[in-house]
Amino acid sequence: MTLDFSKGITEFRWHGRGGQGVVTSNQMLGKAALAEGNYIQAFPEFGPERTGAPVRAFLRISKKPIQVYAQVYAPDVVVCIDPTLLDVVNPAEGLKPEGTLVVNTVNEPTDIRKKFGFDTGKVVTVDASTIAMEVMGRPFYNMPTMAAAVKFTGIVNAETVINEVLGRYPGKVGELNKTAMERAMKEAKVG
């Protein structure tokens, strides 16, 4: 018996490391979805809160109030913001066959497909690390990776997400993030 516990809900899972802004970007995307009239749940998996340790965060977006309160086991979208995690975790685990896998990497979508045996759905790659260093001069690659996810999932408008980011980081930091996000949306590859 196959049971669908998340009908009408789009579910995200994020992978990153403590300190890289997984919790923040998850909340920003959630708040952007909220601004577009959706119900949301945005929550991290809290473990020992160590900088550099693998962390996960979860997001649910729905037109109707969300009842289920549990971690996401069969995501529609997986976003992996740290390239070094690809040898540590399998981001494709549980990902729906028609789902989207978004990875911050210098590699091509075909390489990622081969590495994780994910041969359906969509794979999006973006070199967010380089973009972040070149635009912001610091390794803030959560926002450009999120931008690639926003572009290729189409669940939330890019403009709404950028507005959230500008609202949270007014001034120069916000503008730099915006530039990095726009560049990521241009350079991201899908395959």
Partner: protein
């Protein structure tokens, strides 16, 4: 009762808030006189946010940053005794340290609102969710209400003052949310204009207050002569809660269109099996019911909100037609034949002529995730037990054995 009107939609503010922040925003609007608290994970955001409101001059309340939770509840009792509107927040070990003073708060009939982000008790140290902390305070004389969502936590916190401060009640009240699962989960929350909340609550009118110009003593000593009579009065007070709760909620519904009840029933009318739980698993159980109903299963959910006083008669009425009631609870009573929630349910159903079978599953201790599949497992097991006509007193689910 004050007369309230429906708040127009354009005056409602929608924000993405964690469960803790939703409670902090509610407290901000409730015109507190005193908040005394000591921070502890996972309720910290409540106190932090409220302190921020106080530091920014957004609230008039006196915030007392005490040195321990024992002092926090003591300060609340003192402030409440002079007639102040008072709130605090805690969890786990912090709540445990308040233990002695919880009974003072209820015995002295102080309408303190106590918000809790439920967390497991040590040892081993664990910051995550289960219900051991507030279930431990089960017999302390506090009213206890458990919330599923951020919206419900916001709404219930506001209503809590009006219930507690009613002169037919005058008891402290716990408003609980699941630690991390809700306390740190950003959800959509609709907030009322502050003036509407003020109008709804009014000012606290103390039944009697400490006043240096008319000195009295509260809660000093009652031995064999009168102690028992004080306890009898507490029985009457807590028995008055359901009527007051219904009155307050009816008014809140007039203002917001929202109501929750002492418990929520979901697709129970024709259900053979009723899942029985509260807080976040109460939501998950509804998602499970939707999925199982698509397979033709006749199943529903009773999501409890009010654990104290336990609405035993109403619950018996709501589930008496079912073949089985499946209890899911995040607490153990070591060595007991069943665990706190199932004991309540079995007692509530005992006098029925035809009793449903009651199964008891302990889940999610120390924050172990409770996926829908865990709820399905308890449901499937109960179906098997129904066939056999016999079930164990309780089982644990989702644990390595």
């Amino acid at each position: 009762m004050t007369s309230v009107e429906r708040v127009p939609e354009d005056q409602i503010v929608v924000e993405g808030l964690t469960g803790d922040a939703a409670i902090a925003h509610a407290l901000k609007q409730c015109d507190l006189d005193v908040l005394a608290a000591y921070p502890i994970t996972p309720q910290t955001i409540i106190v932090e946010d409220y302190q921020k409101f106080a530091a920014n001059g957004e609230v008039d309340a006196k915030v007392i940053p005490v040195e321990s939770e024992h002092s926090a509840m003591s300060a609340c009792v003192g402030a409440s005794a002079v007639g102040a509107r008072v709130a605090t927040a805690s969890a786990s070990a912090g709540l445990a340290l308040m233990w002695e003073v919880l009974y003072c708060a209820s015995g002295m009939r102080m309408p303190i609102v106590f918000t809790v982000a439920n967390r497991a008790l040590s040892a081993p140290i664990n910051i995550h969710n289960d219900w051991s902390d507030t279930y431990g305070a089960r017999d302390s004389g506090f009213i206890q209400i458990y919330c599923q969502s951020g919206q419900e936590a916001y709404d219930t916190t506001i209503m809590a003052f009006k219930i507690a401060e009613d002169h037919d009640v005058l008891l402290p009240i716990i408003v609980a949310i699941d630690g991390f699962i809700l306390s740190h989960n950003v959800e959509r929350v609709e907030m009322l204009p502050t003036e509407a909340v003020h109008k709804f609550l009014g000012k606290r009118v103390p039944f009697i207050a400490l006043d240096p110009t008319k000195p009295i003593t509260m809660g000093p000593l009652a031995l064999t002569d009168y102690y028992f009579e004080f306890k009898q009065q507490q029985i009457d007070a807590i028995n008055a809660v359901p009527d007051v709760f219904k009155k307050v909620e009816a008014e809140f519904e007039k203002m917001t269109g929202r109501k929750y009840g002492m418990f929520e029933t979901y697709k129970t009318e024709d259900a053979d099996i009723i899942l029985f739980t509260h807080s976040s698993p109460g939501g998950t159980a509804k998602a499970v019911v939707d999925a199982l109903r698509e397979q033709g299963e006749k199943v529903g959910v009773l999501r409890l909100r009010m654990f104290r006083p336990f609405p035993a008669k109403e619950i018996a009425e709501a589930v008496k037609h079912a073949k089985a009631v499946v209890v899911f609870e995040k607490c153990l009573s070591f060595g007991a034949p069943a665990n706190p929630l199932a004991m309540e349910v079995r007692t509530a159903l005992y006098d029925l002529e035809k009793r449903p079978m009651v199964t008891d599953f302990v889940i999610g201790l120390g924050g172990r995730d409770v996926p829908p599949t865990t709820i399905v497992e308890g449901y499937e097991k109960t179906k098997e037990y129904l066939k056999k006509g016999k079930a164990p007193f309780f089982e644990t689910l989702g644990v390595r054995k």
